[in-house]
């Protein structure tokens, strides 16, 4: 090691970067990633962009291709204002879950920072995207970019044909329902541009072939069948559509009585994008933790091997500690648990438990404490967990003590908050399980489902909100969202809040009231 350092095996010496340095650094990082960390990743594509382009990418939820909508413009204005006033720094990188995996590097970064970012994004995130079961199950990295290309051009074509205002109306409503637009239990929808286009074409051709002007002239009355028993009717329509349906956008796309084919297609596009981001919402801690752990380990190894200088290493460490900075709850800078910190700390902790466990660790984690193979343990955790299960499994008492975690309960009716558990023998279990609950996307999202719609009768759509722990919805945005649902449904929409424990109706709201209020 000494010898190599003397012959100057430094990957780079200047703080300015160039493409030769980048590619030398990339190769050195890759060597460590493959040989020592046993990472498995998609081929990398690294793109250098300017800060303005970074802002552009920010505002279109990080996708390199995105259809046009005013809300992205709003985010752009907002973010560029913050950036110009110096209230917000830009991320050093942006990485896209695609195959090949695209990483954006900011041109302003120094060379040491570029190396850090490559290790973080091109290897850390990339490995996670490729191996985590959620991503494998729900997203198709190879198809997303072509699909976005299709979505963008499809929506642009719609704007040309039907006018931007009409398209905007549908998109506004669809965006409001994005959190309610994921399937949580079904297999991922397969995307393929070719098939997608063929499907649309076929649908249109079929419509054209079967079009007959005669249908229009049929007397309306013939359609009204003899009145049937309401009970049988209910049973029949319950069986025709699978109720309840929690993917509201899917429901509207399939069953809305008023939407035209192109509008349904737009809902589908929004829904597929929401689905694509669903795994990311569930793995924030793990994803960032994995990337941070990887860059930390790799940069340290590079330094050990004498491939980066002390100066660069100091710069790397300074940036690293900024990233994993966690203010305490009473600090004015506190804005929730930092997922980078939590993830990174947990992974370092697993490394410690594998190599130098204490008696306590052996009690809590008998299956891997002291097994010596921290790399294998982590690889396995990265592949088979999401945030909630990861925390439930791996958060150790030692780390709870380190971060001085405690759980605080808030009951709306009480005039106080209560500390329910702290970092002590009695509290470890509870802190750990509450923290895991907080990261359970399924539990933190409001439980809202479409439960009934009488398509042959008054076409009223009934939506049920099951209220857990008395957590209601913000009334204003709820009503606005209902208004949007009504726009897509075309008829009355009602939402009813039912308490999960007591089955009592807590509130009821119908889009009819909305119309009267205005």
């Amino acid at each position: 090691m000494e010898k190599r350092a003397k012959t100057s095996s430094l990957l780079f010496t200047s703080s300015d970067w160039n493409f030769d340095d980048l590619s030398r650094a990339y190769d050195a990082i890759k060597e460590i990633a493959v040989d020592e960390l046993r990472l498995d990743f998609y081929p990398n594509q690294i793109e250098v962009i300017s800060s303005e382009q970074m802002l552009d990418a920010y505002s279109s939820i990080g996708m390199p291709l995105m259809y046009q909508h005013w809300s992205f413009g709003k985010h752009f204005v907002h973010e560029s204002n913050l950036y110009r006033k110096g209230r917000m720094g830009l991320a050093y990188e942006l990485v896209i879950n695609s195959n090949p995996c695209i990483t954006y590097l900011m041109e302003e970064n120094t060379m040491a920072l570029q190396a850090l970012v490559i290790a973080h994004a091109s290897f850390g995130h990339n490995h996670f995207f490729k191996n985590n079961y959620l991503f494998q199950q729900w997203t198709d990295a190879g198809a997303i970019l072509p699909y976005m290309e299709f979505a963008k051009s499809y929506i642009a074509r719609c704007e040309e044909r039907y006018g931007p205002a009409a398209v905007e109306a549908v998109l506004d409503a669809a965006h409001a329902l994005m959190p309610q637009a994921v399937f949580r239990y079904r297999r991922r929808p397969r995307l393929s541009v070719v098939r997608e286009q063929a499907r649309i074409r076929e649908r249109l051709e079929h419509e054209e072939r079967t079009f007959s002007d005669l249908w229009r002239t049929l007397p309306q009355a013939a359609e009204i069948a003899a009145p049937r028993e309401p009970q049988a009717d209910l049973a029949e329509r319950q069986s025709a559509i699978e109720y309840p349906e929690e993917n509201l956008l899917y429901f509207l796309e399939k069953y809305s009585p008023v939407l035209k084919a192109w509008q349904r297609e737009i809902l589908r596009i929004v829904r597929i994008i929401a689905q694509y981001f669903y795994p990311q919402r569930q793995t924030k801690v793990m994803n960032e933790g994995c990337a941070t752990f990887v860059h930390y380990t790799i940069m340290n190894r590079l330094y050990d091997k004498g491939q980066i200088s002390e100066g660069s290493m100091l710069e790397v460490l300074q940036n690293h500690s900024n990233v994993v900075f966690q203010p305490s709850f009473d600090d004015p800078r506190y804005g929730g648990l930092n997922p980078y910190t939590l993830g990174f700390n947990m992974m370092r902790d697993i490394q410690r438990i594998c190599t130098a466990p204490t008696a306590e660790d052996r009690d809590w984690f008998p299956d891997f404490a002291g097994n010596g193979d921290w790399c294998g343990t982590l690889l396995d955790a990265w592949a088979t967990h999401r945030d909630e299960s990861f925390i439930r499994q791996f958060l150790s008492p030692a780390l709870i003590r380190d971060m001085r975690l405690f759980s605080l309960q808030e009951e709306a009716s009480d005039p106080y908050y209560e500390v329910t558990a702290i970092h002590d023998e009695r509290g470890y279990e509870r802190v750990r399980s509450r923290l895991a609950d907080n990261y359970d996307v399924g539990a933190t999202q409001p439980d809202i489902q479409a439960v009934d719609a009488d398509l042959k009768g008054d076409r009223k759509l009934r939506i049920k909100h099951t209220v857990h722990n008395g957590a209601t919805l913000v009334e204003e945005t709820r009503n606005e969202t209902i208004r949007y649902i009504q726009r897509l449904w075309g008829h009355e929409v009602s939402i009813v809040g039912v308490d999960a424990a007591t089955d009592k109706t807590l509130y009821e709201f119908s889009s009819k009231e909305l119309a009267e209020k205005v």
């Binding site: 493409f19 802002l55 046009q68 005013w70 204005v77 106080y416 209560e418 500390v419 008395g470 606005e480």
Partner: protein, 438 residues
């Protein structure tokens, strides 16, 4: 070796379309906010810079969100210092929650506020208003010319030399006349130098030297004779002054300031004219405005007097019309000017004068005017009584005849400040609607 791509030179404004869409949407909101403000009676402030908070409604993105302080929840926080299990911490006052506590919605977005300058406020305010039938474009009195590019010319001002075109010509000429290049001459000179440097030049060499000398001289002469840039190469950008049609318009503001007009009536009338004044100043660069006020006699006054000075007396409306006629004859020949008039009055007039007004309008004024708007200021209590157009003051009743005869005559009533903007809007709506029959 990964795939490195330098995207820095790619076009930057990828989200330009998004931003335009956002501004368009925000604009509608802004307009509504401004109109609301003005409708609520603050016309005086229309003429100032304003900070307009955009209501979140129009540009909000609602979703189903958990209400922040409802029900029961348990959160895990870092950095415990003194708490033990079971400790109770009083809830901070005003239900604001702890300042640092993460909000459940996770959406700490600022409200958008737009600071608008006076110009922008007025632009939005008058956006879809227009003087109707602005037709008489008097080209004789055209005053503005705008330079327009019109190809190239051989002569001109040195500042407008077209370098590209000049070099283009020079290059062509140099090729056509085969101007020797410096490199050729240098090559010959170099060879000469080499040959001349020989100690004992052979006969052949000497002859070669002579040849080269001659060639060198020819080329140098040629190069001198054919200049790099000849005056005939030079081209100038040519600009042609283009006449910009300019519509002459004059607006007559007639206001009754007699004793019957109380403070309230005068205030309403003034507000109406303030709006009109702003509108004309804003939208028409060259509009003359003539202020005429009248009691039992009428006089042309300046802006300040019109708006701020007081006078008292009886009411003879026709004097104002006479005065207007006089000014038109004197300064604004109808064939060159678009003439507009707005009259505000409480409808009182001395007996028999209303008929005279009608005859003045019918016989002369209405054929001269593009548009004549009559605004009657009435009492709020009267507005009930006068809900139907066929009830009214003597002037109102008289003017109804004019309105029936002339499509470019409009009449309307104002009872309270909030009527002003709608009425104004109605009178000057962009599509030249057929004048509303009272």
């Amino acid at each position: 070796m990964p795939n490195f791509i330098d995207r820095r030179l790619n076009p930057k404004d990828k989200s330009l379309g998004n931003r335009q869409r956002f501004l368009r949407r925000a604009r509608e909101e802004l307009k509504r906010a401004i109109n609301d403000r003005i409708k609520s009676g603050k016309i005086g402030t229309a003429d100032q810079d304003q900070i307009i908070p955009i209501p979140r409604k129009g540009i909000g993105e609602p979703t189903f969100q958990r209400a922040p302080h409802s029900g029961r929840r348990e959160e895990v926080l870092p950095g415990n210092k003194t708490f033990g299990t079971g400790d109770r911490i009083p809830r901070p006052a005003a239900g604001g929650g702890k300042g640092s506590e993460p909000s459940a919605s996770g959406d700490g977005e600022d409200d958008f506020q737009f600071a608008l300058s006076r110009e922008e406020v007025l632009d939005l305010f008058f956006e879809d208003l227009e003087l109707p039938d602005l037709v008489k474009l008097n080209l004789k009195e055209v005053v503005t010319f705008r330079p327009r590019r019109a190809g190239y010319t051989m002569s001109g001002n040195p500042t407008s030399i077209s370098v590209g075109r000049t070099m283009f010509n020079s290059f062509g000429r140099r090729i056509a006349l085969r101007r020797p290049r410096q490199a050729e001459i240098d090559a010959i000179a170099a060879e000469l130098l080499k040959l001349e440097g020989e100690r004992r030049p052979s006969a052949a060499t000497q002859q070669r030297i002579a040849e080269l000398r001659e060639e060198h001289a020819t080329l140098a002469r040629r190069r001198k004779l054919i200049p790099y840039i000849d005056p005939i190469d030079i081209r100038f950008n040519r600009f042609e002054p283009q006449p910009v049609p300019n519509a002459n318009a004059v607006m007559f503001c007639l206001m009754d300031v007699s004793g019957s007009m109380g403070e309230r009536e005068k205030d309403l009338a003034k507000r109406f004219f303030v709006l009109l004044h702003l509108f004309l100043k804003r939208r028409y660069e060259k509009t003359d405005i003539v202020f005429i006020r009248h009691t039992h006699e009428a006089s042309e006054v300046d802006e300040d007097t019109f708006f701020y000075s007081t006078q008292s007396g009886g009411t003879v409306v026709s004097t104002a019309l006479d005065e207007m006629l006089r000014v038109i004859r004197e300064r604004y020949p109808a064939k060159d000017w678009n003439i507009y008039a707005a009259q505000a009055s409480d409808g009182d007039n001395i007996p028999n004068d209303s008929e005279r007004c009608v005859s003045i309008l019918d016989n002369t004024l209405m054929s001269l005017c593009q548009y004549y708007a009559y605004v009657e200021i009435i009492d709020e209590r009267e507005s009930e009584m006068f809900r139907h157009a066929d009830n009214g003051t003597s002037l109102w009743n008289a003017y109804r005849e004019v309105s029936a005869a002339w499509p470019n005559f409009a009449m309307t009533r104002i009872a309270k400040p909030s009527d002003i903007y709608p009425v104004f809007h109605e009178l000057f709506a962009k599509a030249p609607a057929p004048a509303k029959r009272g």
